[in-house]
């Protein structure tokens, strides 16, 4: 391959130069504190499986630009943020990227990263992109920061790094275990580091593996993780300027656990004593490296170790070829995004088939979640019936609540993880008969205890033998049921242990009682918030449905990942039901009148849930619907059934089947690893009235939030949308992005090797780090990627000045849009404008010669 050798110009990628920050500080303690603070802020949190939600794995780096973050990360950990060149070449060959796209992309690139792209003319770069003559293998350069174990392994062919990962993993799993083990770690109450110390002073494993007197070393460590880290840094004589990078490298070598602990530290339930657990994790990981170091196993190697203070060059420079390889792939990535926006803009600017909703009084209005999966069913529902108007709104319907199921001590947070619940609703038995109510509650409780007693019988040291002999044969029936798909729909968590006739009695109630529920004045506020943010303050239809969503899968640890992210990884049922309760309440309605919103007597709100696996829509609380509305409800049920059928047919081809009813069996098949595609394919977030998108084929790739600028004079709604749902969409988008570009680093690997640990996380195979992100099966169908990695394009139908106001006001929006974590577009008077932090708004150009496809 002819390699064009560039002159040795300073072509290193810009990066965070920390040395300047540090030279000003004086004391070691303050320095270490600052380093630890930064390191912790770089870790993305990870929620436990039962509340699994999408997280942007680069959330700690959004304050710097995309490529800077990539460079910064690759100094301390393995992990790609762009697809391999072969992927882009294939797409180019398939004609998916036009010359125009590449030209526009290069223009954008040289604006974003002049320090890289100014080295060649645009034509030179174009040549490098369209022909593979300039491709070359990038020499695998040593990461400047490595753990000692990684270095020794690389030189000796040993496996210390994975041994240490397994060790730390074992300790963390035992420390945070939520009930898998019957005999729990006796030090669970202590902070992580102290607990580890107690265990490690007894545990002989590391010594048996060859690191002599490790227990002695551990007992000599201070009990405080900060002091321990300081002592160990001194022992390794790491220079102060490198502390942050070095510690970050240590922490990222256990990124899965770091992420989970970050969540634990953030979540409110955490006790004071454990607030330093993330620092504890750094100290633990460091201790194994120092243990290796002082065991004298590889003294000669330590001297050559790149992280050894003598070996770190001040500003590490990246090889020229590496920079060029990154540049070419980045330009391709931008081109792919440009190509998508080209098609999207044609679609959006095409005249809409929507008939004006003002002329015809709609029979039914239906509010869906902004989730990309809603796009399909909304489109089909509107096609089936002209008298349904649909809306897009965050699926928790603006109700940040904790919902506590009957008989449970704590509930689930039914709101985006960026918020925390501001009120608590308990599931109650909705009856006027106190005897029945207490009877239902008692049978629920008895059922729970019975199950826990039985589980203990099944898993105790002696009784497990008799359990197997007396009941093992009965599993024959379960095996048959599951293998031949004879398994019925399993009752929901709240319906468990209750007889059929009592299940329908359960639900949220409006009245406040004791420590839960909402005061009447707050109820009115909540109701007003829902309607104003939704933009539905007049023209109410006779029937208004709030449709949350949830998935239906079995034997799937990642089930919560398919549920509603806006509801914290749960079904939106409770939020929809509570929203309908609020808005049907007479007192709330009269309160709303006082605030200028008149809901007609003839309007009824009904809750529903869209099952995204089977595309059925189930309505709730039907018995309380007044008889005057039965006609509309009957029609609506027919329409959603038809729309569901159409949606299933559209999805069938993507699921690799011709049979649309296959979705039903998938939802109940215990061996199914791809029950549905979830949010795979997501690429854009559209903030506009439905009339803009109505009838347009958007392929289930767009988040859609209803927004009418004309109703939002003070920009309150826009501000909310850009700081909450847009950020959530960005998190989801970048999680899919990262899990696709490097599933090993940012995804959770192969589902068939998954092992649920501690009831909250996933390990792959025999052990190793906790897995983060999405499994390979969620983005790839075995033949090709089902998710196209594109950074989110946000299109807002509003004037530029309005959007600019929000950008200026909120740093988070500034960072996301300015540093290339998403692209912001304004749709103003049938013209698109694209935002750039360099030169503000510019007219969106679409390469016209290809705009027809």
């Amino acid at each position: 391959m002819p390699v064009n050798v560039l002159e040795e110009s300073p072509m290193s990628l810009p990066h965070f130069d920390i040395s300047s920050d540090f030279s000003t500080s004086t004391s070691d303690g303050a320095l270490l504190e600052a380093a630890l603070f930064t390191v912790q802020s770089h870790v993305a949190p990870m929620w436990p499986l039962k509340d699994f939600v999408a997280v942007n794995p680069f959330v700690g780096f959004t304050e710097i630009k995309f490529l800077e973050a990539m460079h910064r990360l690759q100094r301390v950990r393995d992990g790609e943020m762009l697809m391999p060149i072969s992927y882009y070449r294939r797409r180019l060959a398939a004609g998916e990227l036009s010359d125009g796209d590449i030209m526009l992309a290069l223009e954008q690139c040289s604006k974003e990263y002049p320090e890289i792209f100014s080295h060649y003319s645009s034509d030179e770069w174009q040549k490098r992109l369209v022909s593979n003559h300039y491709d070359f293998d990038v020499e695998s350069s040593e990461r400047p920061f490595q753990t000692l174990a990684e270095w020794i392994d690389r030189k000796r062919g040993s496996t210390w790094a994975s041994i240490i990962t397994n060790e730390v993993s074992r300790h963390c799993a035992a420390h945070y275990d939520e009930g898998q083990a019957i005999w729990q770690n006796p030090w669970q109450q202590l902070p992580l580091f102290s607990a580890w110390r107690e265990t490690a002073m007894i545990d002989r494993r590391f010594e048996k593996l060859g690191v002599s007197s490790f227990r002695e070393f551990v007992s000599a460590l201070p009990d405080n993780p900060r002091e321990a880290i300081a002592a160990m840094l001194t022992k390794l004589s790491v220079q102060q300027v490198h502390w942050q990078d070095f510690l970050e490298c240590q922490l990222f070598s256990m990124n899965g656990w770091a992420s989970y602990i970050k969540y634990r530290v953030k979540s409110a339930e955490m006790t004071e004593s454990s607030a330093d657990d993330l620092i504890g994790l750094i100290a633990i990981r460091l201790a194994y490296d120092v243990g290796l170091h002082s065991s004298g196993l590889s003294r000669d190697l330590v001297i050559q170790w790149p992280s050894n203070p003598q070996n770190i060059k001040a500003g590490s420079r990246v090889g020229v070829s590496k920079v060029q390889s990154v540049a070419v792939r980045y330009a391709f990535q931008v081109a792919a995004e440009v190509a998508y926006r080209r098609r999207l803009s044609c679609n959006l600017l095409a005249p809409s088939i929507a008939t004006s909703s003002l002329t015809v009084q709609n029979k039914v209005q239906m509010v869906f979640c902004i989730d990309v999966r809603s796009e399909l069913i909304r489109r089909h529902l509107e096609a089936v019936s002209g008298s349904v108007e649909t809306f897009g709104f965050a699926g928790f319907f603006g109700l940040p609540m904790e919902y506590v199921p009957l008989g449970a001590l704590e509930g689930s947070a039914q709101c985006p993880v960026l918020l925390s619940p501001s009120f608590c609703v308990h599931e109650s038995v909705r009856t006027n008969d106190p005897k029945l109510s207490s009877e239902v509650a008692a049978s629920k409780r008895t059922g729970q205890i019975r199950e826990s007693v039985w589980k203990l019988f099944q898993s105790s040291a002696i009784s497990c033998f008799s359990f197997v002999e007396s009941t093992g044969v009965l599993y024959l029936a379960d095996l048959i049921k599951n293998a031949w798909g004879l398994r019925g729909k399993s009752p929901s968590e709240s319906a468990k242990y209750l007889p059929m006739e009592h299940r329908s009695l359960l639900g949220p109630v409006l009245q406040a009682s004791g420590d839960h529920g909402v005061a009447p004045s707050r109820q009115i506020e909540l109701a007003e918030g829902i309607l104003r943010n939704l933009g539905l303050t007049d023209n109410f239809a006779r029937l208004v449905a709030f449709c949350g969503h949830g998935s239906e899968t079995v034997n799937n640890p990642y089930r919560a990942g398919l549920d509603c992210g806006a509801c914290g990884g749960h079904s939106g049922e409770s939020n929809a039901r509570y929203a309908a309760l609020l808005l049907n309440d007479g007192a709330v309605r009269s309160g709303l009148r006082g605030r200028g919103i008149h809901i007609p007597e003839s309007t009824w709100f009904i809750p529903a849930v869209h099952n995204t696996t089977t595309d059925e829509i189930e309505f709730f609380d039907i018995h309380s619907v007044p008889s005057s509305h039965h006609e509309e409800l009957k029609d609506l049920k027919e329409w959603v059934a038809m729309a569901g059928q159409l949606t299933r047919s559209e999805r069938a081809s993507r699921l690799g089947t011709q049979v649309s009813d296959d979705t039903f069996s998938r939802s109940r098949d215990w061996s199914e690893v791809r029950p549905e595609w979830g949010l795979a394919g997501n690429a854009a977030f559209l903030v506009a009235p439905r009339s803009r998108t109505k009838g347009k084929q958007l392929d289930g790739r767009t988040f859609m939030h209803s927004y009418d600028f004309k109703r939002d004079s003070d920009l309150k709604v826009l501000e909310l949308i850009m700081t909450a749902p847009m950020v959530v969409a960005n998190w989801i988008n970048l999680q899919y992005y990262a899990s696709t570009v490097d599933n090993h680093a940012y995804g959770s690997g192969n589902k068939v090797l998954h092992n649920v640990v501690g009831l909250f996380g996933i390990q792959q195979g025999n052990g190793g780090d906790l897995m983060t992100g999405l499994p390979w099966q969620s983005v790839h169908d075995g033949h090709k990627f089902q998710h196209e990695p594109l950074r989110l394009s946000v299109v807002i139908e509003a004037p530029r000045f309005a959007i600019q106001q929000i950008i200026d006001k909120h740093q988070i929006v500034q960072e996301l849009a300015g540093n290339g974590w998403l692209t912001l577009l304004a749709l103003e008077e049938e013209q698109l404008y694209v935002f750039s932090s360099v030169d503000g708004w510019s007219t969106f150009q679409s390469t016209n010669h290809q705009s027809n496809n």
Partner: protein, 540 residues
């Protein structure tokens, strides 16, 4: 008729082995065909096993050998009695379930064809192992099973841990092979035949004459040692918890099918082994040790699959203990029940999160006095129930020390169940606890009687005179079980004591058995580090 019967039994095994010979490359390229083929063959195999069981009940057992070659003591043949029938039904059923499961589970995996091919081969080998009429055929099938499993364990050959675990298993299996081959030589020397039928008849006679003789003891002990290596008994168990680097259905196949081979060998040869005090004592001691070791370690495991693996080790130990106590039909019941339970547990291991509900009301704190009172009453009730059952059913006998131990274990289990329901101090739950205990007892008795009557002709019912060694063994085993029971009870109050904490650390580490094995394997057959740890199946 005999040949038809034989055909029904042998053809599915041959078909399975046959499709196991398809080349992996071809299989990977024609996954659809392979899927259909293996699914159908395993379904036919299951139907054939059912038909064979019906034929057995009408025509009686089958001992069929091909008439040639006549010049060698080696023949190919089928030995089909009720033990074979039960085992073949079990394996065919589990096999078909696993193949059905793998269809969707491994969909999109570029080596799904290879996977199915080796599943088929392994199932064929296990079937052959079960139906073989003689020890040579058995040993060949035993080795073939191990080879097939090795291929499945290295399904992702670029995962170093997978390769290491597979090699660990491979080396232990070769040790088992060696023991078996030595036993074969001794057996032929003693009996002049490899055929089960002839050996059993001969052994029966020997016992009448002289009580067996030392040679019989040695042969029995060799077979028992071979079985111990196969069925993950301490100290040969450490490969089992390390085999999670293989797709979940393989775990199910291993834990519900292949691991039983050792137990099957012992039960198959029970007419022979029952004459060997040495063999039985070894079985009882190793089995009890394994059972207790496995269940204590299981208590501390934090991941679902590892905890299931240690549970399998414990259950296999229990099964071997039952064999050692002469309770062969109870051991067979254990194999069947455990296989069904464990296959289900592995295949549904992804449900661990769903199954764990959110935090519920805690168990009420009770004073130590009430805890002890509850425990004593639970023990008393369980004791009375079990003694009554034994009395009514006529199982109470001084001649059966094994029965005493098994009923003691059952009593402790019932006490556990009752005590946990008593802790809540609610009449409703006490009644439910009693009802559960009754159901469990009935289930146990029914299952045991059913298995015992089915196997009545396959396993010996001999009352062995007790030697002093046997008595010591019985006492040790009983003491061990009591100690572990007390340990788990004591954890409630004393989990913070330094000794208990130290024990926790050891148990959580599996008492470090794996390190020795790991070192040994690395020395003999080291795994070269593999750069690409990214075991994502590449798209086809």
């Amino acid at each position: 008729m005999e040949w038809f019967f034989g055909g029904v039994i042998a053809l599915p095994a041959m078909a399975l082995l046959g499709s196991g010979l398809i080349s992996s490359n071809w299989a990977n390229r024609h996954v659809r065909i392979l899927n259909a083929l293996v699914t159908h063959i395993t379904l036919w195999a299951l139907l054939a096993a059912v038909i064979a069981a019906i034929l057995l009940s009408t025509t009686g057992p089958l001992d069929l050998s091909l008439p040639y070659p006549t010049f060698l003591p080696l023949t190919v043949g089928i030995y089909f009695d009720s033990l074979t029938a039960v085992m073949l039904l079990l394996v065919s059923f589990i096999g078909h379930i696993i193949v059905r499961y793998s269809r969707r589970y491994l969909d999109g995996d570029s080596t799904q064809g290879r996977f199915l091919r080796w599943v088929s081969f392994t199932l064929g080998s296990v079937s052959m192992l079960i139906i073989s009429a003689n020890l040579v055929m058995f040993t060949a099938a035993w080795m073939m099973t191990s080879y097939g499993l090795h291929q499945l364990l290295t399904h992702y050959p670029d995962r170093p841990e997978a390769v290491l675990a597979a090699r660990k298993k491979f080396l232990i299996s070769r040790l088992g092979d060696a023991l078996l081959v030595i036993a074969l030589v001794f057996t032929y020397n003693k009996f002049g035949s490899f055929n089960y039928g002839e050996i059993f008849a001969e052994a029966q006679g020997m016992q009448l004459e002289s009580g067996g003789g030392w040679m019989l003891s040695v042969i029995g002990a060799l077979y028992v040692l071979g079985a111990i290596t196969k069925s993950a008994q301490v100290p040969f168990h450490s490969w089992l918890p390390d085999t999670m680097e293989t797709p979940t259905p393989v775990s199910a196949l291993m834990h519900a099918g292949i691991i039983n081979a050792g137990g099957f060998l012992v039960i198959r040869l029970s007419p022979l082994i029952a004459h060997s005090h040495l063999a039985l004592d070894v079985l009882a001691i190793v089995g009890a040790l394994t059972a207790l070791f496995g269940s204590v370690v299981m208590l501390t495991q934090t991941s679902i699959k590892r905890s299931l693996a240690y549970s399998t080790i414990a259950q296999m130990g229990m099964m071997m203990l039952q064999c050692g106590l002469g309770a062969f039909s109870a051991a067979m019941l254990h194999i069947v029940a455990h296989s069904l339970y464990k296959a289900h547990a592995f295949l549904s291991s992804g449900s661990a999160v769903e199954a764990s509900s959110r935090k519920q009301s805690q168990t009420p704190q009770q004073s130590t006095g009430r805890l002890v009172l509850g425990l004593l009453s639970a023990l008393a009730i369980a004791g009375v129930v079990v003694s009554c059952l034994m009395f009514v059913l006529g199982l109470l006998s001084d001649h059966e020390p094994g029965g005493m131990i098994l009923s003691m274990i059952f009593t402790l289990s019932l006490a556990q169940l009752l005590w946990n329901s008593f802790l809540f101090a609610q009449p409703r739950l006490v009644i439910i606890g009693l009802a559960n205990a009754t159901l469990v007892s009935v289930g146990y008795i029914v299952a045991w009687f059913a298995m015992d009557s089915v196997l009545s002709h396959s396993v010996p019912h001999i009352v062995i005179p007790l030697s002093w060694m046997d008595q010591v063994v019985v006492l040790l085993v009983a003491g061990g079980f009591l100690a572990v029971f007390s340990l788990q009870i004591a954890l409630i109050r004393f989990h913070d004591r330094p000794m208990i904490r130290a024990l926790y650390v050891k148990a959580a580490n599996g008492f470090y058995f794996d390190i020795a094995a790991h070192k040994l394997v690395s020395r003999v057959w080291s795994v070269a580090p593999i750069a690409n740890k990214n075991a994502l199946p590449q798209g086809r």
